[in-house]
């Protein structure tokens, strides 16, 4: 239609040419002037000097309707969000709102909402999706041995437990240095340790032993690879075990301050009580040694011994103080 209009004017131009005495070439195209009809809105290529000064740019593209309009109610959601993806307001057919409410209003809607995009979403891990994934991963799994049905059996047959972690992130590299760490857990009761070995082991490992659960945890992270850390952890366990069974010559040089537990024999408390009793009762009954032996054999003295040991080893508490009190009363015949 625009061409049609301009042609019409062109013919006019031609007719007018000779009449007005133009010497220019008559094939010059005449621009559409103010005489043009409503079609001047369309003449893009020809700047309309009569009506407007500026030339109209191509109009801005409009957004289409979001595809949530076309989604069926019973569609397969696992196909829409099949992998972890940011929140797309045009693809999620939920009327979600998020953010600080506008004054006197509601939280802003999902369209153009940065808050919804910033947070992690689990739209790709709906229960249906997880079910499908589990079904797909079943061929990779082997069956659990039927004999290992309780925790107790597991502990019995597999006392050493190893733990390590794999990491996934979106980035240039799949490697994560934290993946090399290996934790080795074993119950000390499963290890064949006698008293000395156990005490020595506890001294050697220090903090790594948890008294409540009786579990020794060795954390190996000094090597760059997980395999190396695992081997090192096993090596450590072996070495600790053997070392705790060995008795070094210098271990005999233990003093009373190095002992872990309080032992009543040859302690000031024993000396004191025996002296006290000797003074109290059998003054001059016999020689020192025999008297001591006889005194030690008495049940009250044994009770006293127990109560003192309890106090020293376990610390003060209601019951231990009470026991000490009873024992002292008995020994001193109060």
């Amino acid at each position: 239609m625009a061409a049609h209009t301009s042609k019409a004017f062109l013919s006019l131009g031609r007719i007018n040419g000779p009449g007005l005495g133009f010497h220019n070439s008559l094939t010059r195209v005449t621009y559409a002037t103010a005489l043009s009809t409503t079609n001047s809105t369309g003449n893009k290529g020809f700047p309309d000097r009569g009506n407007r000064g500026a030339f109209v740019r191509k109009p801005r593209r409009e957004a289409g309707e979001p595809r949530t309009e076309k989604m069926a109610v019973n569609q397969d959601w696992t196909a829409v969000y099949s992998a972890a993806a940011p929140f797309k307001p045009g693809s999620v057919p939920l009327p979600v709102r998020m953010g600080y409410p506008v004054k006197g209003g509601v939280p802003p809607e999902k369209k153009g909402n940065l808050e919804l995009i910033k947070i992690p979403n689990f739209l790709h891990l709906t229960p249906a999706a997880i079910k499908k994934h589990c079904e797909a991963l079943k061929p990779f799994c082997t069956e659990w041995p039927s004999a290992l049905d309780t925790e107790a059996t597991l502990d019995e047959h597999f006392p050493i437990k190893l733990e390590s972690t794999d990491y996934i992130s979106a980035g240039t590299s799949v490697r994560n240095p934290s993946a090399r760490i290996v934790h080795l857990k074993v119950k000390l009761s499963r290890l064949n340790l006698d008293d000395h070995a156990r005490k020595k082991m506890l001294r050697l490992v220090g903090d790594r032993y948890c008294k409540d659960t009786d579990i020794l945890t060795i954390r190996a992270d000094s090597c760059p690879l997980r395999q190396q850390n695992y081997e090192y952890a096993m090596y450590l366990l072996t070495v600790l075990y053997h070392e705790s069974w060995k008795t070094e010559s210098w271990e005999a040089e233990r003093t009373a301050a190095d002992m872990d537990e309080y032992s009543w024999e040859d302690s000031p408390s024993q000396k004191n009580i025996l002296d006290t009793l000797a003074h109290m009762k059998m003054a001059g009954e016999g020689e020192g040694e025999a008297v001591r032996e006889e005194l030690l054999g008495r049940p009250e003295v044994q009770e006293y011994r127990d109560s003192v040991m309890r106090l020293k080893n376990e610390g003060e508490s209601e019951s231990s103080m009470h026991q000490y009190r009873e024992a002292v009363k008995k020994v001193l015949n109060l």
Partner: protein, 669 residues
């Protein structure tokens, strides 16, 4: 996505602890590195256990196996556009032109990036990716060796710099250095392949005369295949390949092979056969590639069908004499040549297929494509009595094919064409289900081929199936797989009309708009005609009126650009629709439009208008209406005037006007 990644990592962390726990336990148990204390323990336990603990063997799998297993759970999303575009209502391509533009721009961005990376390798030395991604690292594109040596020649050949390679070879000859036979073979191969020209560098600056090899053309998605592109490479007389060939002291079969194949590829068929005769005279045995090329060139040399077939059979006999085993491409070229052998091709095609089976070569999709082309010629399709298509489909059903022949990609569109021409819906469904088997979706071709395939499929559906089925497929295919053209939309309109679902027309119009077909006048006219043809229920009529207003805005140059010319039919249809929905004001504006566009409304329209004016009670309007019809010099004016006088209560001057009009138009005059 670091934050979600962390969470996911945490989730997997928890799970992996459990999994690895078990794995490591088993691992430990079988590693035979037991410490002595535990050995004791387990020994006693073994004696006491009532049931033997059977630990299953650990399964191994490839690196991608888990990902592939998880991806097999994902189906197609019907409302989504293709995956490479941004999933956003503003940024997704809604028309096929936008699709082409966006995909081309993505490709050009990638090509530009590759160009920068390749030309500035010193900035891309550090490799961040773990595991290593080779395609992101710079490739060597420029020559490193500048001396005259065979290594330099080999480098030029591998970088596909044909002219430089030829120069280097000439220099080597002048210097007297002997070039090894292998390098000479490579040189001849590369010259013959590119027809003695440098191929366009991928991603380099586009030159005006892009005489690229076929691979360049294939890369451009959706590019229209210009015949001139394919014919541009012409095998010139005595070009470098021939010259070097003649200079060779001894020529073996591979040299001849390079030359013959190059000649056939670039159109010098007679020369190819002459060279082949030369080769036979020198008592050399050809190889299978030579025969493939010659067979495909055979139809160019002879005019008559039987002569062509004689030539082909002669070549095959010679092949047998020289004890060369044919391969798949041999049979495919035979079938392709048979396509141009007219009526005697049918028997020979079936014989060829049985020979293929006898030799144990499985036919590829290209073979079936050629067979279909032989049996279903476009001109005689209605008279053909064959059911080859059924047999072919039953043979290929459930098989997953890989691409073995460049013509494999044409199978699906041709098969669908045959289904369309024979109007066979069942076979159409079978072809479509074959696309879903295994890796066959890769053989649908580039976006142009795909659009042809889906266009034909949709056409077939619209013709043959009930509207509900059509709409179900419409929702599945459009726009995620296919942007229909105007013809496709018209087929859909016809299907809607056949099954009487005209109430869906406003939604179809919305789709037509978003697909960019709003400026196709015949489509719009047909839509309007369908809407305005009959009266419907009031809700439907309302929706039609809204749709009509939308169409009107398109006509008026929506968004400042005129798209369509007003025609009488479109104007009258829109006015009729507005009238039926009782939108009097807008209908009135339409009448004025009639005047401005110099179109003449029909009598029926004016009668309807008058009735509407009567129902709304606007006598001035009625008078204006009659005056308007008089201005148009319509023969219905006196009747209208009479009706107006009769049905309305008018003022005196209105009456006089009307009676004047009535009398002035007296047909007896």
């Amino acid at each position: 996505m670091a934050a979600p990644g962390r969470h996911v990592g945490h989730y997997i962390h928890k799970n992996s602890r459990f999994l690895l726990n078990n794995v490591e336990q088993l691992w430990w148990h079988r590693s035979f590195g037991w410490s002595p204390a535990v050995r004791q323990q387990t020994a006693t336990i073994k004696k006491e256990s009532t049931e033997a603990i059977v630990i299953p063997k650990k399964k191994t799998w490839s690196k991608e196996a888990v990902l592939e297993a998880l991806s097999s759970t994902v189906n197609r999303d019907h409302t989504a556009y293709q995956y490479q575009f941004q999933d956003d209502p503003y940024l997704s391509p809604r028309t096929s032109a936008e699709f082409k533009l966006y995909s081309l721009s993505q490709e050009s961005g990638r090509a530009a990036a590759k160009y920068f990376v390749d030309n500035n390798p010193k900035f891309f030395t550090k490799d961040f990716a773990e595991p290593h991604i080779p395609c992101l690292m710079p490739e060597s594109v420029s020559l490193r060796l500048e001396d005259v040596s065979e290594e330099a020649l080999k480098e030029r050949i591998s970088l596909r710099k044909v002219k430089a390679a030829v120069d280097m070879y000439d220099q080597l000859l002048q210097a007297g250095t002997a070039v090894s036979m292998e390098t000479t073979h490579d040189l001849l191969d590369v010259i013959s392949l590119y027809c003695d020209r440098d191929p366009v560098q991928e991603g380099g600056p586009e030159t005006e005369d892009t005489e690229g090899s076929g691979e360049e053309l294939g890369r451009r998605r959706g590019r229209v295949r210009r015949a001139s592109d394919l014919l541009k490479s012409v095998w010139r007389e005595n070009n470098n390949a021939e010259r070097i060939f003649n200079l060779l002291p001894e020529r073996d079969a591979q040299c001849y092979s390079a030359l013959i194949r190059g000649m056939v590829k670039h159109g010098a068929y007679v020369k190819a056969f002459n060279t082949y005769t030369d080769m036979l005279n020198n008592r050399l045995t050809a190889d299978v590639h030579i025969f493939n090329a010659l067979i495909s060139a055979a139809p160019e040399l002879r005019e008559k069908y039987n002569e062509r077939w004689d030539l082909i059979s002669e070549l095959l006999n010679q092949m047998g004499e020289q004890k060369i085993q044919p391969n798949l491409l041999t049979f495919n070229s035979v079938l392709k040549a048979l396509r141009r052998c007219g009526s005697l091709a049918k028997t020979h095609a079936l014989q060829t297929l049985s020979e293929m089976r006898a030799l144990g070569i499985a036919p590829s999709l290209a073979s079936f494509d050629h067979v279909l082309g032989i049996f279903y010629k476009a001109a005689t399709i209605t008279q053909s009595q064959t059911d080859i298509l059924q047999e072919v489909m039953s043979e290929v059903a459930g098989t997953s094919f890989t691409c073995q022949d460049p013509d494999d990609v044409l199978f699906f569109s041709n098969a669908m064409r045959v289904c369309l021409d024979t109007k066979d819906m069942e076979q159409g469904y079978k072809v479509h289900s074959l696309v879903g088997v295994g890796e066959n979706w890769r053989l649908l071709g580039d976006s142009y081929q795909q659009s042809i395939y889906y266009g034909r499929f949709f056409n077939l559906l619209c013709m043959m199936e009930h509207i509900d089925v059509v709409l179900k497929w419409y929702r599945q295919l459009i726009p995620s797989l296919y942007y229909p053209n105007a013809q496709g939309m018209r087929d859909l309109l016809q299907a809607l009309d056949t099954d009487g679902r005209l109430d869906l027309l406003p939604t179809i119009w919305k789709d037509v708009r978003s697909l960019g077909h709003y400026n196709k006048s015949d489509l719009v006219d047909e839509l309007l005609a369908l809407m305005a043809r009959e009266k419907h229920s009031p809700e439907v009529q309302e929706s039609f009126a809204a749709c009509a207003l939308d169409v009107k805005s398109v006509f008026e140059g929506d968004r400042g650009r005129p798209s369509l010319e007003w025609s009488t039919s479109s104007l009258s249809h829109i006015t009729a629709l507005l009238l039926r929905a009782n939108r009097s004001q807008q209908a009135w504006e339409m009448l004025h439009l009639f005047k401005t566009k110099n179109r003449i409304p029909s009598d029926v329209l004016l009668e309807d208008f008058l009735s509407m004016c009567g129902s709304t009670g606007a006598p001035e309007r009625a008078v204006e209406l009659v005056q308007l019809s008089a201005a148009f010099c319509l023969p219905a004016t006196p009747r209208l005037a009479q009706r107006a006088l009769a049905e309305f209560d008018l003022t005196e001057e209105q009456r006089t006007i009307l009676s004047e009009l009535q009398s002035s138009w007296d047909p007896t005059e």
